[in-house]
Symmetry: C2
Subunit: 218 residues, 2 copies
Amino acid sequence: MPKTNHQMPNSSESPVTRGPAEHERRTQIIEAAVRSFAIHGYQKTTIADLAKAIGMSTAYIYKFFESKQAIGEVVCARTMGVTSAALLAVADDSSASACERLSTVFETLVERGYDLLDIQPKLHEIAMAAVDEGWASVRTYRAELGEVVRRIVVAGRDSHEFESSAAPAEVCQGLLATLIPFSHPVFLRQTSRQDMLQAAAAVSALVLRGLILRGLKI
Amino acid sequence: MPKTNHQMPNSSESPVTRGPAEHERRTQIIEAAVRSFAIHGYQKTTIADLAKAIGMSTAYIYKFFESKQAIGEVVCARTMGVTSAALLAVADDSSASACERLSTVFETLVERGYDLLDIQPKLHEIAMAAVDEGWASVRTYRAELGEVVRRIVVAGRDSHEFESSAAPAEVCQGLLATLIPFSHPVFLRQTSRQDMLQAAAAVSALVLRGLILRGLKI
């Protein structure tokens, strides 16, 4: 039986873990999980598989992770963290105009999604589970996308590229919603990269016409 | 064994059916399917269940429908047909401005989605299957949504509410993509109606600012 502790699963923004921070062991388990998720998929991987892969007991793994989902959360958070770091870098890139940064965000989201699936098609499964089950890593990722949008809107208003009459919170909410079709795993399997890039460019152009200060050309 | 014919499943835009157009029998099967999908869900319903419900053999049902999916296609097409007819009526409503028509399309999509799920929560399952498996009824629905968008863009340009410099095909493609989060069943379960309506209003306002002729107020 797994040892219990006082942490509630899914109750915090950080992945639910157990026991002391034995960094190396945790890394070993995560690496085994990444390999198994890539080969067999998230759904078919069990804690017993991971234990076998690293030559430990399942009880030993439960010392570090509450559940398979807790391991999945770490894998997801790591993958989505790389994407959101890339997008935050785009949002903060002062060498580009706010308009360019927004277009690049749309494009980067699409390219990164397809790149990930090209390398690891089975990643789609864990991404879908994460979204369907509302994992903490997904909430964090959404909040980070919101921050990306907010920084670009602020930058565009500060530089007088964007008009400032609309309520910024509503503008950001609208923009974030227009990113959904390009950030949600459900769409990546149904549309080709080329079609998705074209749709992203069309949305980006459409919303930019709404954002820019009248008189400016884009 | 089901009788075979020369129709390929999923190869045409209309639902795949078999045998003579015995309207009444088909209706009876569809009604039984609607009831069973509503109570047990699409996945758990079998052709044998439907045969039992109407006191016929499974072979008899296969005379009319190639597969469970073919029955599901009819149920889906009927439900989505009501939505797209409502949206086309909004697009053609000459008593409203093109701006108002577009806002109403966003709102109607959201309200209709939640209304359907409130009445029949299990409908979500068949909608997800239809989308995941790329049913013909979904392709038809998408084409109809595209037509809704196209008519509003044409109306707005004709009335000089909308600017006309951007390529209309790209504008329509962008608009259609902004409707996705409000028309895809995957999102209806994860967000409250109120939050979804607020997001739809934010996107609608954002894209309208991009569409309208500079100088006009919305």
